[in-house]
Amino acid sequence: MADLQTDILHLFRDNPVGDAVRDIPWAFSVSETLHFIGLSMLVGALLLVDLRILGVAKNVSYATVLKLVPVAILGFAINLISGFVLFTSDPFMYWPNPLFKLKMAVVVLAGLNALWFTFAEEKKLLALPEGAKVPTMIRTTAILSLTFWLLVILGGRLLPTFEAYGDVGFEPTPVAAPASAP
């Protein structure tokens, strides 16, 4: 099992993206910065969508706030890509960190919650007569969305605090080209 994990981590590390983020001095910090900008786009858009479902700004139609979902998806896409780049810089540092696995699990939960809302609940929301009470199920997806993404931010921000490099018996082979000077 550990062997399979090691093999997969090598795949993440030893590829052109990983090589680039280790060799280009600004690549890591720029990816981090993009990760923060994507975070803000995601949070801003979801605050309007989720808070509207929970009763804020009642004079705005659900169809209108839902037009902000693509902004949230764009923010998420930025973070998926920048996060992948950050991960390839040193998967053997990130993966053993228990908080990293937890963060990824909550990202998956947040994604499933968003898919559930989009494919199971969105039509019901749009069909609600004006002023009607929002069903508990839909309110729950909004609360879960805000909660999951809050946890994702906290998890990400605390990653360095829970770094557990080398604590799991992984034996990464050295990177072919050494990372840029310390």
Partner: protein, 165 residues
């Protein structure tokens, strides 16, 4: 600048420096507050530029309170982190740039508020004047700039850490 070293040496400054979790927890608040403030600002800027139609000014007026809560989280956590490293961070150019960008970002929002004050707050199809659109672009650049400057504080404070690590 004795007051800066005095700040660092207060009980609070020492606690934040030495406690393993104080700084990370402050950073958590700082990240969440950032998401709230910059997130709401970016959506307001986007709406001013014309997307999505149907969203009236009143929506953003009702979110100003939440924006201030986010800002207060960041001001409080920022001041506490400042106290713990006052003598070094005050002279850090990325820190100075970040504060300037936040001040200008706030100013841009105030100007946008002035320009849009005469618009109907309940009209979802409201057309924003060109000046508001120009300031929306400036505002977005300033607030994103504040994030960029903030991120690079970590790299300039610890010159022994390379840009890639």
């Amino acid at each position: 600048m004795e007051v800066l070293t005095w700040l660092e040496n207060t009980w609070l400054g020492q606690f934040i420096q030495s406690d393993a979790f104080a700084h990370p927890i402050l950073l958590c608040f700082h990240a969440v507050g950032m998401g709230i403030v910059v997130g709401l600002v970016l959506i307001f800027d986007l709406r001013t530029l014309g997307y999505p139609k149907g969203l009236p000014l009143r929506t953003f007026q009702s979110l100003v309170g939440l924006g201030w809560i986010g800002f207060a989280m960041n001001a409080a956590s920022g001041v506490l982190m400042f106290v713990s490293e006052a003598s070094t961070i005050l002279f850090n150019w990325t820190f100075q740039l970040k504060l300037a960008l936040i001040a200008l970002g706030g100013l841009s929002l105030w100007i946008m508020g002035k320009i849009t004050a005469s618009l109907d707050p309940l009209d979802g199809e409201v057309r924003f004047p060109p000046a508001a659109k120009v300031w929306a672009v400036i505002s977005a650049l300033l607030w994103i700039g504040a994030i960029v400057a903030g991120r690079y504080i970590a790299y300039t404070l610890k010159p022994n850490i390379s840009l890639d690590g």
